[in-house]
């Protein structure tokens, strides 16, 4: 069993990890915004989503957050008329990834905000620990 302040730092660290996982999914989505298929009528890149889940660390008793489930967005693909494209279907339409840049930007901003909040918790817990250690220094 850890003391509560160390446990809170561990919790915040799991939050940092979860948010960076989310950031990774966002960057993969943005990088693959135009990744259409290469063969006739093939499917393009499908948007990735990260889901969060609360979990308990049995060893320390700290309540953590995990983001290990990456799921695919089931929204329909964008269609664009490009008859010359290698992935175009019979009608001349190309399926493009279901990635919306504005949604990704909003998600990125949100991840940034949560990351900052978790960092703030780590800073404050560290300050509290050093305040307690400073008690030993006397004068």
């Amino acid at each position: 069993m850890l003391d509560a302040l160390t446990a809170s730092m561990r919790t915040a660290a799991s939050g940092l990890e979860a948010q960076s996982m989310r950031m990774r999914a966002v960057s993969e989505n943005l990088a693959n915004m135009e990744s259409a298929g290469a063969t006739r009528g093939s499917d393009p890149y499908r948007r990735k989503l990260v889901t969060f889940e609360a979990s308990l660390d049995g060893l320390s008793g700290a309540e953590l957050v995990t983001a290990n489930h990456i799921i695919r967005d089931t929204q329909p693909f964008r269609l664009e008329f490009q008859p010359g494209h290698p992935a175009a279907n019979e009608a001349g339409y190309v399926k493009l990834p279901n990635v919306n840049m504005i949604v990704e930007a909003a998600d990125m901003r949100e991840a940034n905000r949560s990351y900052e909040a978790n960092l703030q918790v780590i800073k404050q817990a560290r300050d509290m620990i050093s305040m307690t250690i400073d008690l030993l220094k006397g004068q």
């Binding site: 003391d3 509560a4 302040l5 446990a7 809170s8 730092m9 919790t11 915040a12 799991s14 939050g15 979860a18 948010q19 989310r22 889901t51 969060f52 889940e53 609360a54 700290a62 309540e63 953590l64 957050v65 949100e110 905000r113 949560s114 909040a117 978790n118 703030q120 918790v121 404050q124 817990a125 300050d127 509290m128 305040m131 307690t132 400073d134 008690l135 006397g138 004068q139």
Partner: protein, 123 residues
């Protein structure tokens, strides 16, 4: 010295409070997560002396004072997301700042009290 005991117990409580705040902030985006709050220091203080004493090796250690986290009631949280998450990062950060300030007050009091004791010894 009662004051040292009080300061140490208050600091234990503050540590628990910070852990609960950290769990809330880490789960600020978890769907369906309900924000938690810690029991008041008053009630933790009231529990002292009620712990069971351990007299045989087979007895499980029971801590006299238990700090428990309880879920916030619907009206108590600042906002609720569509997923049912009731964590508000702003209020949690405010709480974390408050906890840190209280810790600084506690350590300050303990330090000056310690200095008082030392000065009476030196004289």
């Amino acid at each position: 010295m009662y004051l040292f005991d009080l300061a140490s117990r208050h600091m234990t409580w503050l540590g628990g409070r910070q852990a609960v705040t950290a769990a809330n902030i880490a789960n600020a985006d978890t769907p369906g997560y309900r924000a938690k709050a810690i029991t008041d220091f008053d009630s933790v203080l009231g529990q002292t002396g009620l712990g069971l004493s351990v007299t045989a090796p087979g007895h499980l250690p029971l801590h006299g004072e238990t700090i428990t986290a309880i879920e916030l009631r619907p009206g108590e949280s600042w906002d609720q997301a569509h997923s049912g998450n009731t964590v508000s990062i702003e209020s949690e950060l405010m709480k974390a700042g408050q906890t840190s300030r209280m810790m600084s007050l506690d350590t300050g009091i303990a330090r000056s009290f310690h200095r008082m004791l030392l000065s009476s010894l030196k004289a």
